[in-house]
């Protein structure tokens, strides 16, 4: 099943990329003669209240959301790995301080922190800056939960007999970490990364729905959820439900893929 989920995800991403590449319209292009239209020959999934092609915007949201979340997850895993390894290989006092810092981060609900950090951007920030900041904030605040797991894994490996042997043979800490420990931590890092990706997609969608996600006109899942508040739009076309349906499908595939990976691990 793992292969089926990954193939379906890949198909969706390729289809989204192809739509963006071959479409006549840009995601920000406003067709003022076709505002709030249902499905037509020009706009397969209709247009929004500004006349922007919904299919192109959904495809862009999928690509941006997935790429941004994957990049943020990679950054968060790097931060968590650095933090966990530093705590595992430092003195007890420093380790306690580092773990205390991660506890402080964990003591405030995640979405609340995200909301706070994201909202404090200058009012004139460009859409690209808001997108980058949103995903950077996700990466910067998502690491504490992962760092705990990585710390525990690193401590177990540090105390393993073969690591003690490597130490006794004269390998320096840096060499032990880079050559011995990190390759053995990979089975722990990959599931953590996979858990982070759907969590970040959901967090971005929730932030966007609160008006704090990626700035307009750049498309995002959250901004598209806001469209559902417009009852005039809902009455005109059922295509307005396309973003939410696709978002749930993508998240379902990601969650199922992650569960399969966890089961096999």
């Amino acid at each position: 099943m793992k292969r089926v989920y990954s193939i379906l995800l890949a198909v969706l991403l390729v289809a989204a990329a192809a739509t963006l590449l071959w479409s006549r319209y840009d995601y920000a292009y406003q067709d003022r003669d076709a505002i709030l239209t249902p499905s037509t020959a020009q706009h397969a999934a209709g247009t929004d209240e500004l006349g922007r092609d919904r299919m192109v915007r959904v495809a862009a949201a999928l690509v941006i959301g997935f790429a941004g979340s994957a990049a943020a997850a990679a950054v968060t895993i790097m931060i968590a790995a650095g933090f966990g390894l530093l705590a595992a290989f430092s003195s007890k006092t420093l380790a306690a301080i580092l773990l205390f810092v991660s506890d402080v981060f964990l003591s405030v609900p995640w979405l609340f922190l995200l909301m706070m950090a994201r909202s404090l951007l200058p009012l004139t920030a460009s859409p690209l800056v808001t997108a980058v900041t949103t995903f950077l904030v996700l990466a910067a605040l998502g690491w504490p939960a992962c760092s705990r797991a990585i710390y525990r894994g690193a401590v177990e490996l540090r105390n393993a007999e073969w690591m003690i042997h490597a130490h006794a043979c004269g390998l320096m800490t840096r060499q032990r970490i880079c050559l011995q420990l990190v390759p053995h931590l990979r089975p722990l890092l990959l599931p953590q990364f996979l858990i982070c990706v759907p969590a970040f997609v959901v967090a971005e969608a929730n932030l966007g729905a609160l008006g704090l996600g990626v700035g307009e006109p750049m498309p995002s899942w959250g901004a598209m959820l806001l469209e559902l508040d417009n009852s005039a739009l809902l009455a005109r076309s059922h295509w307005v439900y396309l973003p939410i349906a696709l978002l749930v499908l993508v998240l379902l595939l990601l969650e199922s893929f992650t569960s399969e990976m966890e089961t096999h691990a």
């Binding site: 981060f105 405030v108 609900p109 009012l123 609160l210 959250g222 939410i244 978002l247 379902l252």
Partner: protein, 268 residues
Amino acid sequence: MLCAAAGTILLVRCAPGFFSDDREMDAKYAMAAQAEISAQSESQGSIVRIAMREVESWAKGDFGESRQYGVPVAGLVGARMSTSATLLMRGILCGWLFAIVAALPISCLRKGGSLLGLPFTILLSVPTAAMATACILADAGGPVLVLSLLIAAREFKFLRSLLEGAWRSSHLLQGRAQGLTAWALVRLHILPNAAPQLRTLATLSIVTALGALVPIEVIFNVPGVGQLAWSAVMNRDLPVLVAVSLLMASVVGLAGMLSSSEFTLEAA
């Protein structure tokens, strides 16, 4: 809690938009007035000054004055606490009820468990904001239902694996061989043995529910702490933000202490 408060002040103060003021975008203010607004914000914006003002307001017991509403923060948060607490309590209780009622029978099935658990997997894939919007569109359910479904989806996964392990244990097999009914096994063996883990999971539900509080209260227009936090964030209302951070940190800290004391008791 102090660290959470200090972190909030640091985070808000170091954010690039801290000095942004909505009035700067307003054309009715002349250039000179806008420059004055900027200078005023910058003169009052050093971390030490902000921290001192916050500590002073804590000493007074009012947690300062809200920037957007112009009233003491303690009164503002206090008035909304009961609404959020009721919502949280109802949501967590109903969520756990859904999760236990579904996980108990599904966990003892040998086949088809994954298929029956599919609704919870789907629920897990729906962002809170989308679930809340769907409820409004369908004109069915409300904030308690959305919170319950979210908690149920999260806890079902853990409960199912916990109960599956319990059903397979050798002492339960012995009990079944001796003719104990399923209900007796659950009541006398499974629940008492799983109680410490269940209590820890329950405290984690509080953290999950607190995270979901903001979108739920904003979308359903519930006058609770989550909506206040959102409004404070949108208006850069630092005193309210610090007070809400403290409240959240103390609730999460208390939940953490409860779960760790359970383990300590068990270990003892």
